[in-house]
Subunit: 252 residues, 2 copies
DNA sequence: TCTTAAAATTGGTCAGACCAATTTTGATCT
DNA sequence: AGATCAAAATTGGTCTGACCAATTTTAAGA
């Protein structure tokens, strides 16, 4: 009765299951520690695997099995003949997030709904916290959109950058990461099915541009509620457009 | 000028960087496919590593390097002498999410702020979508809290379950996962520094219980705005308490 | 039928070897 | 001295075979 699910139990269960120490896991922990503490910065090169063997006092198998997860998740990058490197900051920890949500990314509705929540809040906080450099960065992306109204790919690039810069302006790193992951997923999911007639594309682009400008004005004016409302409107429009396109495509 | 960050570029760049196929990565992909498609269900046992070698036509090294990331991320579970198994569903994909956010977990404020956003929205949606079984599950956790006002550990367990069940009631799997990860982090972070005098603990517990009941009532009444407001109040109180405790401890 | 000890199986680790890509070195030429 | 380019050394990726430790299976014995 009222069976308490596993996760909840795990978070409060005082007795942690004893895992016999696997050598490679211990190494993983050390490396993660070094990276997240900043001792290893993005772009840094790790000692060669054969070096690490002697440093850790273990065989190469163990070293490699420790590196492998970090590489697979994009935290490290292995270059044959050159060495293992700490991945660029931007890409770091992006893949694990994607993997973490992989299971649920099939649910289109959840994705859209979550994005709506994240982005409206981002607009709100960005309005309250954006610094001068954030504002110019955002404005630049709007300029980019205005300059490429008839080049969908370019336009979309600046569109993405716009939301990217807003997320950055929140100064909230977690929110920043979450938005990028969710957006990335939606983007790929859109890209697969979105090919428009040039005329229609430009019409949508103009609408989108105007909405982006509204959002920017509100952020510039440090109007949190206004920015949230403008973003809300923008996303609802965009979502609706996508929905309509999906239908139109179906009836083709 | 106006340098576009890496992520934004990556999401829209049509030409994907060619990665020379690494054998192990190909295997990872196949296994992930099998799991997320349901061909391999939680608890299932994989063929032995030596079996997989011949099936894939590769050496054991490659097989193991493919399994390792999945094991490290908690998607698979390796039992020495027994075999490799697909991990229980609950724990699945939890670790990668934690890793994904690990980098930012130093920023306490971000964590608190993000939790506030996630949970208030969760309350809102839960109010609109909670089914009968969700309501009883939530009510059970409140009962549990009421029954253990003087046992902090127990109380905290039901407290966590309360938020857990609300997250579940949103029917939004992504939101559900995000909340659990963030909460888990905050929980461990709290646990380290939270030891109260029994009297003070019970006082806090009573306040907390009352607030939980308010939230529940709003959800039960399908009052989205009310639930959001109640949750907002609750989290602000809890955050403030934590803050005060931190100060008190410092001045000790 | 139940116990129990031996044997087989399986994941974890080590060692050595080879390949392919890259970097470094050094000889050669200008 | 500086530039060029081929050989050598370095490094990650993979394979093979071996051994250990934990577990499961088997089979012998009571």
């Amino acid at each position: 009765m009222s069976q308490i699910p596993d996760i909840a139990a795990a978070t409060t269960e005082p007795y942690q299951q004893i895992k016999r120490a696997r050598v490679s896991d211990a190494i993983v922990e050390q490396l993660l520690q070094l990276i997240s503490s900043g001792a290893l910065k993005p772009g840094d090169r790790l000692p060669s695997e054969r070096d690490l063997c002697s440093r850790f006092g273990v065989g190469r198998t163990s070293v490699r099995e420790a590196l492998k997860p970090l590489i697979t998740m994009g935290i490290l990058e292995g270059r044959r003949g050159s060495g293992n490197f700490v991945a660029a900051e931007a890409g770091q920890f992006q893949k694990p997030l994607e993997w973490g949500l992989l299971q649920d990314l099939h649910g289109r509705d959840d994705l859209v709904e979550t994005r709506h929540m994240l982005e409206t809040n981002a607009a709100h906080w960005a309005a309250l916290r954006a610094g001068a450099e954030n504002l110019t960065a955002i404005e630049d992306t709007i300029q980019g959109m205005a300059d490429h109204l008839q080049q969908p790919a370019r336009f979309q690039h600046y569109d993405a950058s716009f939301h990217f810069e807003i997320a950055r302006a929140t100064q909230n790193k977690i929110l920043f990461r979450l938005i990028n992951v969710i957006r990335g997923q939606i983007q790929t999911w859109i890209g697969e099915r979105l090919t428009l007639s040039p005329a229609r594309a430009e019409a949508l682009a103009r609408t989108s541009l105007a909405q982006h400008q509204d959002i920017f004005e509100a952020i510039k004016a440090a109007d949190g509620a206004g920015a949230r409302a403008a973003m809300d409107h923008h996303i609802q429009t965009a979502t609706q457009d996508l929905h309509d396109l999906g239908k139109a495509r179906k009836s083709d």
